[in-house]
């Protein structure tokens, strides 16, 4: 597609926004330019969480002994064995999310732990390790963790689209640019969607179907 001034539009025109008016095009370019970094971060985090989903599906490799070369994580509670790292789930800059395990009275306990840089103010106040999820079934621990991260991704998506609405309202007042906001929202939701959430929806749908069948019988 060629703009009226002769420049190509392909680089920024989303396929779902054909026949944009000049104002919509300007609003889209400006809004997407402003949230580009957030959008890329959303893509990155979505990709990493999809990898965690794959890890959850191939849990056999995590049942092996502790990964060599990794130190034990100091435990926060007294009188308990330290957490041993099973796998690194994802790394975001200096933060790393780990799947860990330890032996307790009733057998093995698993945890997803977020490790922050030791030198950061939050780490200095609370310690560098934050337990995000625990349980005795590693598959369930990962599923619960992913379910929670889905909600966090949704929160991040909502915040990004709020930035878009705010920017468009400030820069293009009194203009109806809902198509632009809706398109950017759709793009963000698409990259933030995990296969896990689809699986979950399928499970819920299957359960509902079984229930319906049960009622019919």
């Amino acid at each position: 597609m060629i703009k009226r001034n002769g420049q190509h539009r392909e680089g920024v025109t989303p396929p779902a926004l054909k026949r944009m008016s000049d104002t919509e095009y300007a609003a889209y370019s400006e809004a997407f330019g402003a949230i580009k970094g957030d959008y890329q971060a959303l893509c990155l985090i979505g990709d990493k969480l999809r990898e965690v989903e794959m890890t959850a599906q191939n849990l056999g490799s995590l049942e092996s002994p502790t990964h060599p070369g990794h130190a034990e994580l100091p435990d926060m509670a007294d009188g308990r064995s330290p957490w041993e790292m099973c796998a690194s789930l994802m790394r975001l800059n200096q933060n790393e999310v780990l799947l860990c395990k330890r032996v307790c009275e009733h057998g093995l306990e698993y945890a997803v732990i977020d490790q922050s840089p030791v030198s950061g103010p939050y780490s200095r106040a609370h310690g560098p390790h934050e337990v995000l999820q625990t349980g005795d079934n590693p598959r369930q621990v990962l599923r619960d963790y992913l379910r929670s991260e889905c909600e966090t991704l949704q929160l991040m998506t909502n915040d990004i689209t709020a930035s878009v609405r705010l920017l468009i309202a400030e820069r293009f007042p009194k203009q109806d640019l809902r198509r632009v906001v809706n398109e950017i929202t759709r793009m963000c939701k698409k990259v933030a969607r995990l296969g896990f959430s689809e699986t979950l929806a399928e499970e819920v749908g299957a359960q509902a179907h079984k229930l319906r069948r049960g009622v019919r019988v």
Partner: protein, 69 residues
């Protein structure tokens, strides 16, 4: 050697600011900003919402979070 954590107010430089964006809060806490969204989602940080639903983290919430228990 025991490291004494700095007083919470000393890590928040601009005392006139009442609230920070999620990215700014992450920088001040020294964590990735996805971790800040996670703290909000899990109820550890209570944000305020400005126009159009944009999240801001009140300075008071950051100070509370940085207080060692």
């Amino acid at each position: 050697m025991n490291v004494v954590p700095p007083a919470p107010a000393s890590v928040l430089p601009d005392s006139e600011r009442l609230a920070y964006s999620v990215e700014e809060a992450a920088q001040l806490l020294g964590v990735h900003y996805f971790s800040v969204y996670r703290m909000i989602q899990r109820g550890k940080l209570r944000p305020c919402r400005v126009l159009r639903g944009k999240l801001l983290v009140p300075r008071s919430e950051l100070l509370k979070l940085l207080k060692t228990e």
